[in-house]
Point group: C2
Chain length 203, copies 2
DNA sequence: GTCTATATAAGGATAGAC
DNA sequence: GTCTATCCTTATATAGAC
């Protein structure tokens, strides 16, 4: 393997730019400039812009998928449902906001890429969402959720709360809004809610 | 005023297309075609594509803002915190998913428009978010939230869970995932959580 | 693997007729 | 208010040298 993998360099810069500016707003010239090469040189590594973005999207799902499963598996098979949920949430947020730019790029631009690109990259994406479906289903099977809870809607709302962080979270020196803190807030809200007296909840 | 306001027709189709395909992915030709006119005719109503999208974004915020405030105000000044939160959540989701395409367009493309457009449209957007900040602050002042709750993070997570629905919700005949049902699920999770025994929550 | 040069298309925008 | 015609710029992509 080459000492500096220029193919990977292209992907890294592409992921960062796609995440920062969006897909259509990022030209191949932007990507090439960031890499210090010419636009035409990109075609040695990739056949088209769509091929670049497809690979960025796939790496993004692989990254978050690996991170989340790693953290949950590390807890062992007998971990409490609450701990498993917290580990999954922390892993998702960590991949999205800290690990690299691939997952963030995926979340930000997936809905804005050409339909063909969406089609060829949605397999792993669906598989990742299925993993979450399974996680919640297992927790429900243990009787940890209140029975009236709609698992599908809750899953989509939780993933939405997490995915949207990419729109507002900016890395900061202080730990007030660290990824850990956000994960704890979300887990806590999901588990017990934010109300002091839940009994006061609407019928 | 004219019998058919063609300026508004342009905005309506632009909002729909921006919401469906994104900003960069929607050309002025697409908008003109949808309206049954030529590209050049758009310039009678708007000076540029940026002027069109800026107005779409502003209408979107005005719509959701009016809807949310209307529903909360209708409860009267003595309504319970839980009812106010539920009304606000329902109003936001309703504007986003049912009322028209303007709010959905705003949420989907705001992060993808040229920086100048973001700058000139972020005033009302920030004001709307400030309204949410106030709502949660008032509820907190009544002592309804557990004291350790981080109001800023919770606000951003709630708005995120709602805003992300535009990525997955598709209108359906059955009421299983009606806007009302989604709003109830989210309000319920925010208030009391989804766990049967919150005591089992992580330290 | 990267370059220069260039083909080709698409999109935003303007001029001026009707 | 909408049209036809056209300009200008940008972007993807290709050809072929080094």
């Amino acid at each position: 393997m080459p000492r500096t993998d220029s193919r990977r360099l292209v992907l890294d810069h592409a992921a960062r730019l796609f995440r920062e500016r969006g897909y259509a707003e990022t030209s191949q010239r932007d990507i090439a400039d960031a890499c210090g090469i010419r636009t035409a040189s990109l075609y040695y590594h990739f056949a088209s812009k769509e091929e670049i973005v497809a690979e960025v999207l796939n790496i993004g799902v692989a990254t978050v998928s690996a991170e989340v499963e790693r953290r949950v598996d590390a807890l062992g098979p007998d971990a409490a449902p609450a701990a498993r949920l917290q580990a999954a949430i922390t892993g998702h947020l960590c991949a999205l906001l800290e690990l690299d730019n691939y997952t963030g790029a995926n979340i930000r631009i997936f809905g804005h890429v050409p339909p063909r690109v969406r089609e060829i990259t949605m397999g792993p994406r669906d598989a990742y969402e299925a993993w979450w479906r399974d996680l919640l289903a297992k927790i429900a099977a243990q009787g940890a959720f209140r029975p009236e809870v709609d698992l599908k809607v809750i899953r989509l709302l939780l993933l939405g709360a997490m995915n949207w962080t990419v729109e507002w979270h900016r890395p900061r020196p202080d730990a007030a809004e660290s990824v850990e803190a956000i994960a704890r807030s979300l887990t806590d809200m999901a588990l017990r809610g934010v109300f002091a007296e839940p009994a006061a909840a609407i019928a």
